[in-house]
């Protein structure tokens, strides 16, 4: 049974956007919030459906419509809304019934009638839709009990699961823009002091203290300054920036407003990936709403502070995540980085002092202002404060977005929250920080996740991408993958990166193809150090990291490829052969029909064979065989 049975018919429709008031001064905002929250009763029932990209693919919008139809047919007035990403992408589409936070997973539109009849009307929990703990088989009804959420500390992502991202009223009712109001009542220097005291460090990669960066920019002479939100989330395997912008775009805007006020900027840009259409849509909608209500524009809330934000679309260049390249792209030029100094704080966009922060950094700012620097600084380690958002993906049970305090151990992140490795396989390594980061092997699982510890291990916090590799992942191939990425994305401006990444990639490809030579490892080490030292921008300076860190921890795998011509994980095509085990083969011909190369022979009911000379090692036969008869050697 539910903890609190839903109380019947508490219809309190939120005021339509068209009737949202104009906000001319600080008091108007407080009055509006009071009016919005007065109508709300505590523990008002509501249903939220996750509208993150993952859940949308699995039909969450249709689930929401079906639920709305069912409730409308019953005359039940509780709101059913699509929210931003709840983070637990693995089990989507997610439906959460408030106030109990009863969570149904993998919900289909057909389930709506039963949810309405059993849970909404009858207060019964539908066991079949609950999250089942893989180890114990226990069914956990409430979101707060599910290990994936239980061990998290969701600050930046907290409202993602409850707000309608397209509703300014929702955000204001949840306390939105209160931090802006608080900041506008302070002097810019006091705002910066607060951010400095919180210990917030840039969440985009380098981890530079945010308050100090703002201060540098504020101290620059000149009237024209800019703030930029770096939303060019290029790290393959990371999608938290997308999730924040899709689920809570106003929080990013609020952070930028506070930053602009502190620095003295009147103009801001959000540079966002074109590959994220929903994030672009929500952000543009949020800007339009804020402009319509007077939260963006001139004389914001009567403070005399003017600020406008424009969206600039990225065009598919990884290097544009680098700040100087990003600014070149906003200026309409080829996105190539330039030497620093001068730093953007001195001469950035159009030569004016500019402050660039990542989406996650901006989104943390309102929390710090609203709750105080001390509150934020309670979390984390002495040098790394607050929370970090990771996208935990790859060979892991609970794929999703996870927000944890800095200082948590990798083990907790991967096993307690991530639920461990699927199929009972062994954990091999976690790549943190994407193509710029490094891998952390099993022996360092208990390391604290903070800026200093990860750097010491050869990885970086980076943008928060965390890709888990299991025993089936070949670390040489993994390194080759990242090197191929950076080589293709190298803009070509400086020689070490342009030529060096090519040379490293060619060597890795040779090793994976089975043509490695003794001495290749030393060559990779030498090249890697050279590229790190001499490249122009962060892309080149970090490009060798995946290779250097896999060499550091998985040297034996490189040696197996080079000296013994063997791929221990059985991944590298040049070093493996597929074969059919006669005792298991049923002669069903499924593999034969699926083989794109025509390498499999054998009549029906006869044991099949694979011709290694024709076989392209695509692995399709292994994935289609129902009898596990295909093996790799």
């Amino acid at each position: 049974m539910l903890k609190t049975p839903p109380s019947p018919l508490e219809a309190a429709p939120a005021p339509a956007n068209g009737r949202d008031p104009q906000l001319h001064q600080l008091a108007d905002l407080a009055d509006w919030r009071a009016a919005l929250t007065a109508a709300d009763q505590p523990n008002q029932p509501a249903i939220t459906v996750c509208g993150g990209t993952g859940c949308r693919v699995y039909g969450s919008e249709r689930v929401c419509q079906a639920l709305q139809r069912e409730l409308a047919a019953r005359g039940d007035g509780r709101p059913v809304r699509v929210t931003g990403c709840h983070g637990f992408c693995e089990r989507g589409p997610l439906v959460v019934l408030h106030p109990q936070r009863l969570m149904y997973t993998r919900v289909k539109p057909e389930d709506a009638a039963e949810i309405a009849a059993a849970t909404v009307d009858g207060g019964r929990v539908l066991d079949r839709l609950l999250y089942t703990e893989p180890q114990s088989g226990a069914r956990l009804p409430y979101e707060t009990e599910v290990p994936f959420y239980k061990h998290q500390h969701r600050l930046v992502l907290d409202l993602n699961g409850t707000l309608d991202p397209l509703s300014l009223a929702d955000y204001v009712a949840a306390g939105g823009y209160a931090a802006l109001a608080k900041a506008l009542a302070l002097t810019p220097a006091a705002v910066i002091a607060e951010v400095k005291a919180s210990g917030l460090r840039g969440r985009g990669g380098a981890g530079f203290p945010t308050g100090q960066k703002w201060d540098l920019c504020r101290r620059q002479p000149g009237d024209v300054k800019y703030v930029i939100c770096n939303a060019d989330e290029g790290d393959p395997g990371a999608y938290m920036d997308r999730s924040i912008m899709e689920g809570n775009p106003h929080r990013v805007l609020e952070g930028m407003l506070i930053g602009a006020y502190a620095i003295g900027a009147r103009r801001g840009f959000v540079y966002i990936r074109n590959e994220y259409p929903l994030a672009v849509k929500h952000l543009r909608a949020a800007i339009a709403q804020a402009e319509a209500r007077g939260l963006l524009g001139e004389n914001i809330l009567g403070s005399g502070f003017d600020f406008r934000v424009s969206v600039r679309l990225g065009s598919g260049a990884f290097v544009c995540g680098e700040e100087t390249a990003l600014m070149a792209s906003i200026e309409g030029r080829v996105g190539e980085p330039r030497p620093r100094p001068p730093y953007p704080a001195e001469a950035g966009l159009w030569g004016k002092p500019t402050n660039i922060n990542n989406v996650k950094s901006w989104a943390a700012v309102p929390l710090i202002l609203a709750n105080g620097a001390d509150w934020y600084a309670q979390l984390g380690t002495p040098t790394s404060k607050g929370t970090l958002i990771f996208s935990v993906v790859g060979k892991i049970n609970n794929t999703g977005l996870v927000e944890v305090p800095l200082g948590i151990s990798l083990r907790r992140l991967i096993f307690d929250i991530g639920g461990g490795i699927p199929g009972g396989k062994a954990f091999k390594a976690a790549q943190i920080g994407g193509p710029s980061g490094g891998c952390i092997p099993a022996e360092h699982l208990d390391t604290s996740i903070d800026y200093e510890s990860l750097t010491a291990l050869g990885a970086i916090v980076g943008s928060g991408g965390l890709v888990v590799a299991d025993e089936d992942t070949c670390m040489v191939d993994f390194a080759r993958y990242f090197m191929q990425f950076t080589q293709e994305e190298s803009c070509g401006k400086c020689v070490p990166c342009r030529v060096g990444t090519q040379a490293m990639l060619a060597t890795l490809e040779r090793i994976c193809a089975g043509h490695g030579q003794p001495g290749d490892v030393d060559y990779l080490l030498e090249l890697g150090e050279m590229i790190k030292r001499s490249s122009l921008c962060g892309l080149g300076q970090t490009a060798p990291n995946p290779v250097l860190s896999t060499l550091r921890y998985f040297r034996a795998e490189y040696d197996a490829h080079i000296l013994h011509k063997r791929c221990p994980a059985k991944v590298c095509k040049g070093l493996i052969t597929y074969a059919i085990q006669p005792e298991r083969c049923s002669g069903c011909q499924v593999c034969l029909r699926n083989c794109p190369a025509g390498a499999i022979h054998g009549a029906k009911q006869q044991i099949h064979t694979i011709d290694p000379a024709v076989c392209t090692r695509c692995g399709l036969c292994q994935s289609v065989c129902k009898f596990d008869a295909v093996t790799v050697n």
Binding site: G59, P236, L313, G394, G400, P596
Partner: protein, 182 residues
């Protein structure tokens, strides 16, 4: 994006070809006041309207923004998003982001290459299908991911994807997103 711009009473200037899609570019140019730094926005509009950036379009953008054609060409070729060649009737994008890669999206791509005889970035001779690879579509929870004609499909297997693409090419209803093919 609709191909036909809504009819307008009297266009001040018209592209000599009379192609109405140039009016979409004009609208963006006007909105951004013909500022030279709006080049990328203009190219975005052009790519959406035309599907790719034809020589005519690049020349037009260069003239309107008073930029050298070499500059416009440089920008158009630097960014992956812009394409100077027309795409096929259908597109299939295979995500090769890290999450998808460790879940073997490379094998999906290889199966598609084999099946349709084209490499990523190419279009079949009959102009029916373009194959592309993506760096990361930000749907890592669904890995491996393919995007067929704008529809995202997650947790794919190579043979499923081939079946989906065949279905798309044959204009029959492809299995809905999230449901296994065949």
């Amino acid at each position: 994006m609709s191909v036909n711009a809504p009819p307008r009473p009297k266009p001040e200037t018209e592209h000599p070809s009379g192609d109405p899609r140039f009016k979409l570019i004009d609208r963006t140019l006007k909105r951004l006041q013909h500022r030279q730094d709006s080049l990328i926005e203009v190219l975005h509009t052009a790519q959406e309207a035309f599907g790719y950036l034809d020589d005519d379009v690049l020349i037009y953008a260069a003239q309107q923004l008073k930029l050298p054609l070499s500059w416009v060409y440089g920008v158009a070729t630097f960014y992956h998003f812009f394409s100077l060649k027309p795409g096929g009737e259908h597109t299939c994008i295979v995500c090769l982001g890290t999450a998808c890669y460790v879940k073997k999206s490379g094998e999906i791509l290889a199966a598609l290459e084999k099946e349709f005889g084209i490499k990523p970035g190419q279009t079949t001779a009959d102009k029916k299908l373009s194959l592309a690879q993506a760096r990361c579509v930000g749907s890592c929870g669904l890995a491996p991911v393919v995007v067929i004609d704008g529809g995202v499909h997650g947790r794919e297997m190579a043979n499923e994807t081939v079946a989906r693409v065949r279905a798309a090419l044959a204009h029959v209803a492809a299995p809905a997103a999230g449901e296994p093919a065949a």
